[in-house]
């Protein structure tokens, strides 16, 4: 699922709102929602698959944190432009030879 679809769901946006304030214990997240733990876990998995959130272990607990940087969409743009610039810099070489 892409990042945009991931954040189109209100539950997932609410989870993002929670972790945006501070890293939060994964077990405590479900307490904020009127749904089963497995359902909440599924939403968390979608978010972590997109790279929007990351988890780190601290003792017995796992904490979820917001990870604005590891964003696939941005990576795609970068790739596209890297290809574009390599192509154009080759063009420049041809241009300068003529």
């Amino acid at each position: 699922m892409d990042v945009f679809k991931a954040i189109s769901d209100p539950t997932r946006r609410a989870i993002i709102d929670l972790v945006a304030k501070e890293p939060i214990n994964i077990n405590a997240i479900a307490d904020n929602f009127d749904m089963s733990r497995p359902a909440v876990s599924k939403h968390i998995k979608v978010l972590s698959d997109t790279g929007l959130v990351g988890a780190h272990q601290q003792g017995r607990d796992r904490f979820l944190y917001l990870q604005l940087n590891a964003l696939k969409e941005v990576q795609l743009w970068l790739k596209k432009y890297e290809y574009f610039w390599n192509d154009r810099l080759d063009n420049l070489d041809d241009f300068l030879k003529n």
Partner: protein, 136 residues
């Protein structure tokens, strides 16, 4: 995660020729994209190319830095993108080394993301106000 592109090339000619290729609208239009660049800080210009899916083919730019035969930098904006491109030149004997940097990509997502969060917040707020109003 990186948020910029950095590339280097060595061109087998003197720096004047490369600088000219970067700052002359006709030359730039040939090797990069059709444009009306003038290398003066504050000058606004556009690159225009064939529209593609999700891209209207227009890039809006403004010159932010000009150091003759050394550095040229301009903004590169299209839709959600608000990035910056810079070319730096370095003479190496009779050849010229070009450093390209295209930066500012992390801003793209943060803008979309923040807008989504904000619109979500606004909707909630308006719904609450509506509910409060109806309860009166």
């Amino acid at each position: 995660m990186k948020d910029k592109i950095k590339l280097e090339r060595i061109y087998d000619c003197q720096i004047d020729r490369v600088w000219n290729a970067l700052t002359d609208a006709e030359a730039m239009s040939q090797w990069l994209m059709p444009c009306d660049i003038v290398p003066i800080v504050g000058h606004k210009f556009q690159f225009r190319t064939e529209p593609q899916l999700g891209f209207d083919g227009i890039v809006n730019c403004e010159i932010v830095e000009v150091v003759p035969k050394e550095k040229l930098a301009f903004t590169w904006c299209n839709g959600k993108m608000n990035t910056e491109v810079s070319f730096q030149l370095e003479p190496i004997g009779n050849t010229t080394k070009l450093h390209l940097e295209h930066s500012g990509f992390s801003g793209i997502f943060e803008r979309i993301f923040v807008r989504q969060l904000l619109s979500n917040g606004w909707k909630k707020k308006i719904l609450k106000q509506l509910e409060a109003y109806l309860e009166k």
